[in-house]
């Protein structure tokens, strides 16, 4: 019994991280309709930036959690202005290919600059060790990741549903013509939202630095899992991404415990089942995919 509880908590910890990492993907798709294939690369850049900032400026994790997303926001704005915006009016396939190409370029550039075997990063002293929650042992850092991710997810959800900005953005996505008719400048919101999504990917990268290998390729396999999360949750749905993130974390943890070889395949089995029963995902609405 205690083993099952242990796996469940580990699954939730992993799931919270998936939820946070998938959030940016969901936001960008929801507002821009762009399937951002470069999300894994942005995540990787966040982690690499964290390692480099520690190495060069001795910037601690706490500061990186603040600085790196800001940098990534700026980078996202540049990418949107320079590249993505020109293809927004065309078939979504064009931006999919563009961001896929961008991934290849970014990964190769990081390889050229920082090599292939990865960068070192040490866990801050205060987050080392483990906590014992009624017999369930969790590394202290994983507990931090869990709490931090949940806080960010709630914050993003509040901004999107409870604030004026969130309402404008949602109106602009769902009924752009109507929003325009009401005097809302829809185009104005596209760039910052893209930047925001990229910043979220970068934030996930910062969190990953202490417990994941920081290499140019670190986002490649990870992005595939994130796409599964977003598809399960319903493309573009923020609540969906969060719920699906936790679901995938749990499936993976129990898979690792009881069917090790299939730990990752099970995620995609879950995805296939969800698509069969609810083609738009758990929380997806048909409007969102239109």
């Amino acid at each position: 019994m205690s083993a099952v509880l242990q796996y469940a908590v580990q699954g939730l910890a992993a799931g919270s991280f998936y939820a946070l990492a998938a959030l940016g993907l969901a936001v960008i798709f929801g507002v821009l309709g762009v399937v951002n294939f470069a999300h894994g690369a942005f995540y990787m850049l966040g982690a690499v930036a964290t390692a480099v900032l520690l190495d060069t400026l001795d910037l601690p994790l706490w500061w990186s959690l603040l600085v790196v997303p800001v940098l990534m926001f700026g980078f996202g704005v540049v990418v949107e202005r320079l590249l993505v915006q020109w293809l927004l009016r065309l078939d979504p396939l064009y931006n999919l290919l563009l961001t896929f190409g961008l991934t290849l370029v970014l990964v190769e550039l990081v390889k050229q600059r920082y090599g292939v075997s990865g960068l070192p990063y040490r866990l801050p002293g205060g987050l080392r060790g483990r906590v014992d929650l009624a017999g369930v042992v969790l590394p202290r850092y994983q507990l931090f990741v869990l709490l931090f991710s949940v806080a960010v997810c709630v914050l993003v959800w509040l901004v999107m549903t409870r604030t004026r900005i969130g309402m404008i953005v949602r109106a602009a996505t769902e009924k752009p013509e109507l929003a325009r008719a009401l005097g809302i400048n829809v185009g104005r919101w596209v760039t910052p939202v893209f930047g925001f999504g990229v910043a979220l990917a970068g934030l996930a990268g910062v969190l990953a630095a202490p417990f994941r290998a920081i290499t140019a390729e670190m986002g490649n396999n990870f992005a595939i899992i994130l796409f599964a999360v977003v598809v399960i949750g319903g493309l573009g749905s923020i609540v969906g991404a969060v719920v699906a993130g936790f679901l995938v974390g749990l499936v993976e943890a129990f898979g690792q415990a009881y069917a090790p070889t299939f730990a990752q395949i099970l995620i995609f089995v879950l995805m296939a089942l969800v698509i069969l029963i609810r083609p738009a995902g758990l929380f997806g609405r048909q409007e969102a995919t239109a």
């Binding site: 292939v116 994983q142 202490p210 290998a213 290499t215 990752q264």
Partner: protein, 416 residues
């Protein structure tokens, strides 16, 4: 220095082009015993992917160092004056390795192909070597098939194999008290072979493998795998992961608290570059087999100093292995007086060697496995590190006879 060498290279090429354009032969000093009047050493390896740091461009540098040493050693007596070192990227893909090897032997004038990491790629090159009757000295691939079922007259395995890693780490750790093992391995060819070899070695040394846990490949999250591995209270967790997956696992192992419970981590295959990139703190205490360590004695260190001056990094065992393979090849060419592959093979076979890389080395004639003493190493604690790249403490020597399987057991038959 660098630019001077480039000029020298450029002028050599110009002269060659001019000579061939005029229809003249090569320089008189090279006799008719060398195909194309020159010797071509072709390094075929990973120039851009995961093994770039472990061998990659610096293996080419190591081979160039061997050529320079050959020239210094023999001076005017050298039987071949013109030696070229070329570099080709096989991207760790067997199909690309296969095509490139064929091109190098046929059109590139390669007399020997060196390095070739990734077992499947190395096996493809071995077949090309056999078909073209040209030499292939493999350094960085681990499969025992190269000197076993798929061995051939023209292929040599210079540095290590899975058997060495397994007996080195598996048997030595078990004899030192790590009796109960749990093995975590990536569920593909290399991981499965390593797990089999480790299980045999551990059992032979009087230990038990309680559990083997296959994992997906690649994989980032090892949290629950580690919990599961720790639940049977092993003395040692052995991991066969490599590259990024290994780093993921080690970072999460350190977090898991297993270390504090007294569980040791033994790694199947690790290179000094892995420690360098992740930082010694993360790996501290980890046990692994290192066929050669740059600071293991004065001779190795002297060469590593030269290597550092050339490349800005300390050499991995694969770099040193490439140097040794190139050096012994050139020596054999000198002894044979020709680059004819059969004559060179005859000079290499059965030779007992001691050089920078090979200690108590023997180029075995029966299966072309180059056997030599290796080391069981432990990663130092950060406080014990005295200089850059000072990461390893040698725990035990692994004698050649123990580390490498006996030739009779290899299953190799050299008949063409």
């Amino acid at each position: 220095m660098e630019s001077k060498r480039k000029w020298a290279g450029a002028s050599a090429i110009t002269v060659t082009l001019l000579l061939s354009a005029c229809g003249g032969g090569g320089p008189a000093s090279s006799g008719g015993d060398f195909s194309g009047d020159k010797l071509v050493l072709a390094v075929l390896n990973d120039q851009s992917g995961i093994y770039k740091d472990a061998s990659g461009p610096n293996s080419v540098k190591a081979v160039e160092m061997a050529v320079a040493d050959y020239r210094t050693k023999y001076g005017d007596q050298a039987v071949v004056k013109k030696i070229e070192v070329t570099s080709t990227d096989h991207q760790n893909k067997p199909d690309i390795a296969n095509t490139k090897a064929s091109e190098l032997y046929e059109r590139g004038g390669a007399d020997v192909i060196l390095d070739v990491p990734t077992s499947s790629a190395a096996l493809a090159v071995a077949t090309q070597a056999k078909n073209h009757k040209k030499l292939f000295l493999d350094v960085s691939a681990a499969t025992t098939a190269l000197t076993g079922a798929q061995c051939n007259k023209y292929t040599f395995q210079w540095a290590y194999n899975t058997h060495l890693l397994a007996t080195g780490t598996g048997a030595t750790v078990t004899r030192n008290g790590g009796k109960k093992w749990t093995i975590i391995f990536p569920d593909y060819e290399f991981g499965q072979n390593m797990t089999k070899s480790f299980t045999t070695a551990v059992t032979k040394a009087g230990g038990t493998v309680q559990e083997t846990i296959p994992t997906p490949f690649p994989n980032e999250n090892f949290a629950t795998f580690l919990t599961k591995a720790g639940s049977s209270n092993p003395d040692v967790i052995g991991t066969m992961q490599a590259g990024g997956d290994l780093i993921n696992l080690v970072k999460q192992f350190n977090e898991s608290g297993l270390k504090e419970k007294g569980v040791e981590l033994a790694v199947g295959l690790m290179l000094i570059n892995d420690i360098h990139s992740l930082g010694v703190e993360q790996f501290a205490g980890t046990l692994f087999t290192d066929p050669w360590y740059w600071n293991m004695d004065a001779e190795a260190r002297a060469w590593a100093d030269r290597f550092l001056a050339e490349t800005g990094a300390r050499p991995s065992f694969e770099h040193a292995g490439n140097y040794s393979a190139a050096l012994q090849y050139l020596d054999a060419v000198q002894a044979a007086g020709t680059d004819d592959a059969d004559a060179v093979v005859a000079k290499l076979e059965g030779k007992k060697v001691n050089d920078v890389f090979l200690r108590n080395g023997e180029i075995r004639a029966q299966d072309h496995s180059v056997v030599h003493d290796a080391n069981l190493a432990r990663v130092k604690k950060p406080a014990d590190v005295k200089e850059d790249w000072d990461y390893e403490e040698i725990v035990a020597k692994i004698p050649a006879a123990e580390g490498f399987p006996p030739a009779e057991a290899s299953g190799c038959s050299m008949k063409p």
